[in-house]
Symmetry: C2
Subunit: 225 residues, 2 copies
Amino acid sequence: MLSTIAIEEKILGKNDELAALNRTRFDAAGVFVVTLSGSPGGGKTSLLERIVPRLAPGWRVAVIEGDVATARDGERIAALGVPVAQIVTNGTCHLNAGMVARALDRAGVLDADLLFLENVGNLVCPAAFGLGEHERVVVMGATEGEDKPLKYPAMFRKADAMVLNKVDLAAFTPVDLDAFETYARQVRPGLPVFRTSCTTDEGIEEWIAWLTDRRQSWRATPSAR
Amino acid sequence: MLSTIAIEEKILGKNDELAALNRTRFDAAGVFVVTLSGSPGGGKTSLLERIVPRLAPGWRVAVIEGDVATARDGERIAALGVPVAQIVTNGTCHLNAGMVARALDRAGVLDADLLFLENVGNLVCPAAFGLGEHERVVVMGATEGEDKPLKYPAMFRKADAMVLNKVDLAAFTPVDLDAFETYARQVRPGLPVFRTSCTTDEGIEEWIAWLTDRRQSWRATPSAR
């Protein structure tokens, strides 16, 4: 169920306008859309591998994967048996709304109840390009260090939640998880934070509960449909 | 000894031309220049904290730090007692040659025997912007996963060496360090790799030996001066 899209031509039009069009399509189709962004190797794909099988019995889940090169992440998600569209940006450092728009025509994507957009691994550039999603989640590896929200503030300023992943490794590093949260909320007051581990399963259920709750709120909003 | 440079205006001129000018200045001043690039939180600053005190007795060392926001890394290096210029890009996702050119006028930078340029944490964009350096080192955290060279090939294609850091954490994660090296050399045949840990000190001496050797080779090249 993996399909691959190579982005070769220059995407035309303003990103924000295309993002608003995407949002209209998501709302019309009844698809709740969550973007995952963060540094390379923070665990975005691994988290999807953890949560998609738990969500899939109740919901139709689909994923759009964004990568600079290779369809490796798309292949990992396709192995879960859900529809995946792999966008290969051929060097571009972030997804943009036009790339996502093209991927929405791929089989199964707009039939989903919940669609994940996994951005290119990059803590800087994706912050500037809204995709039309309903929620933006920044995924951080605890091993990256607690100062990252201060050093890369744009991504946190735009985030609706932070998943602080790999917390099982924190004990073996000097990272201060409380300071990590404090700094993130210094940039984005009130930011919900989920401390997770794909190894121990810590925090996975709490994050799923938040996703479920956010989707319920969206469905309850008349303007959303 | 920390000085901060805020990049506000648009840097004019082509990056490659400015990089060539930087190289001319480095060679004329007798400064050997090494750029460190890689994802956020891979350990670039921590590695400098490890190696600068060991290099400093024999060599004059200086550092130019590049960050999207804050002078935190510059402050960490300044605490080592060597000249540091902190470039704050105010959102720009990579250093460019023009930013570096401006920092070269800061006290002590061109008096160094060895100058490190620490790029913005980003595994994508910095690959496209040469700074005039003599050697480019990509610094990876082992916890980022062995597939990263294949997924972000441009950075590895341009690299002269890879420092595979945080190897002390590898035992607690599914990462395959041999595959990490294999993939990196698939992208960049013959790439020297140093497996390091700032916690256990593993590999630090080997990497210093490589830096020393590369600097000797540069000094032995008539055209370099």
